[in-house]
Amino acid sequence: MSVTVKTVLRTEEKMMRDTYCRVLMELAETNENIVALDADLMSSSGMKPFMKAYPSRFVNCGVAEANMVGVAAGMSAMGFVPFAHTFGTFATRRVCDQIFMSAAYAKLNVRIVGTDPGVCAAYNGGTHMPLEDMAVLRAIPEMILVEPTDSVMLENLLPQIAAKRGVYYIRLNRKNAAGVYEPGSAFEIGKGVLLRDGGDVTLFASGIMTAEALEAAKLLSEQGVAARVVNLFTWKPADVELIVESAEKTGAVVTCENHNVVGGLGGAVAETLVKNCPVPVEMVGVQDLFGEVGPEDYLRGRFSLNAADIAAAALRAVKRKA
């Protein structure tokens, strides 16, 4: 792993889905086993160029997600490397048993891509807002769950995901991410990234919350609190070593996720810490509520997902130190 963090965060020019499709097409060029599936959302997933370039290796299953996952599992048993796409809600809740039995329990080789994480589902509203996708899948043994932070990370992770056998869930923000990493940065699945060091509190963040956590660290430093910021883009397997080391060093922890705090990143970190190094943990995320409709900015405020919310949680965590 070798990572360079941007000094100034800006919204990336390219949508994540464009990077996703481009890289998958590059991989497909050399790995003829790569196939892609969609469920009548190819226009949203951004997979049209793939479909055009590899018509026989692209299967639009129609609005039939459970069938799609089963078909992907079957193709993987024939040696193919399937990537199946739909909204995060339907990629998880709707097909949980198909992922469980046909893919994971059967120990096959399947990648599920769920787009529009959490409040990024915005105008599609509560029915389409995955705030539990990671929690649903985290309880399935051996699954690998990642949430790529920006397109630089996505570009680096995809070849690894394509190459290594397993059942993966990729939580993909299809819009323009805040660019956190300099091009050329390299990542390792299962290893968090230390973005900033500090001795008073650790902010573990994922997805759109990573940029917020960095911003929160700035707010905290103005108040004399030194925050360590870690990008935990792999939710499972958890990076036990880095989580424990950070807790030992800072003695207080905040988790930051665009997801329900129940069963998600907060859960993963807390489970690790109670076993290894119990310190105060505050969880920034959706507090066990259903999603709702509205612009993403409004929803970030509605569910207290902004940098100021993280900073406030950090102060609470620090205060709770014995």
């Binding site: 069938n67 105008y123 409709v293 509205g294």
Partner: protein, 287 residues
Amino acid sequence: MNNQNLPLRAAELRLETLRVFEARGFGHVGGAMSVVETLAVLYNGVMRVDPERPDWPERDRLVCSKGHAGPAVYAALAARGYFAKSLLKTLNRPGTTLPSHCDMNRTPGVDMTTGSLGQGVSTAVGLALGQKLRGFDARTYLIVGDGECDEGQVWEGLMLAAHKKLDNLIVFCDKNGQQLDGYVKDVLDTGDLAAKFASFGFFTQSVNGHDTAAIENAALAAVKEGAASHRPSMIVLNTKKGYGCTFAEDQEFNHHIAFTEEQMNGALAAARDKIAALAPAAGEVTA
């Protein structure tokens, strides 16, 4: 038969539905436009409902399983008096009671929460079964999309409905031939839907889904046939996605679209012209 001018009601509903989208600049225009005539028929005489009592247990229910057609449903509910028309422009705004997909806990008159395709079929079967168990003389109406028919759950629900002889279930399949990624025949060809529904035990009729008289007659025939043969009914609506919306009609990709003010103004003008053509001239006595 009722004495409403149904073509006029439908034209008014199309205008109101366009206006729901107008303020936002984008939305699920195509699939809302294709069900306008059906909603106009349902809420102007066919469905036994009372806007004063949206929770009346013995009312007829509507499940719009293609929940993304919410904006058309909201326009129909407002026209029927469930809430003020002024609310329509709050679609998808922070704290709105009118989210993009139908939500029974937010919108008076919405009988079932939908949005995840396929699920509305099962909940409609549950409602119809419940109405029977309660001994109510009430019906459940259900709208499904043809793309939605890709979902296995649709067929699980239909099979159970026929098996349980749910003659109080009347389903409309909005066969506009398009889904999200393009034409149904290209994405996942559903084949002869009417034949499939019939083979699942449904009394099946096919009508022009933009002809209010044809829809109304089919609904009446469904009720009659249900009583005679104890079968659930399927009315296949031959429709056009984006029908009557100048910038959406005849486009391959018109599912969720953004539009300019100019485009919307053109569509609104066309909708108003249609109303003017159908409205009785001044002084003319209406039935």
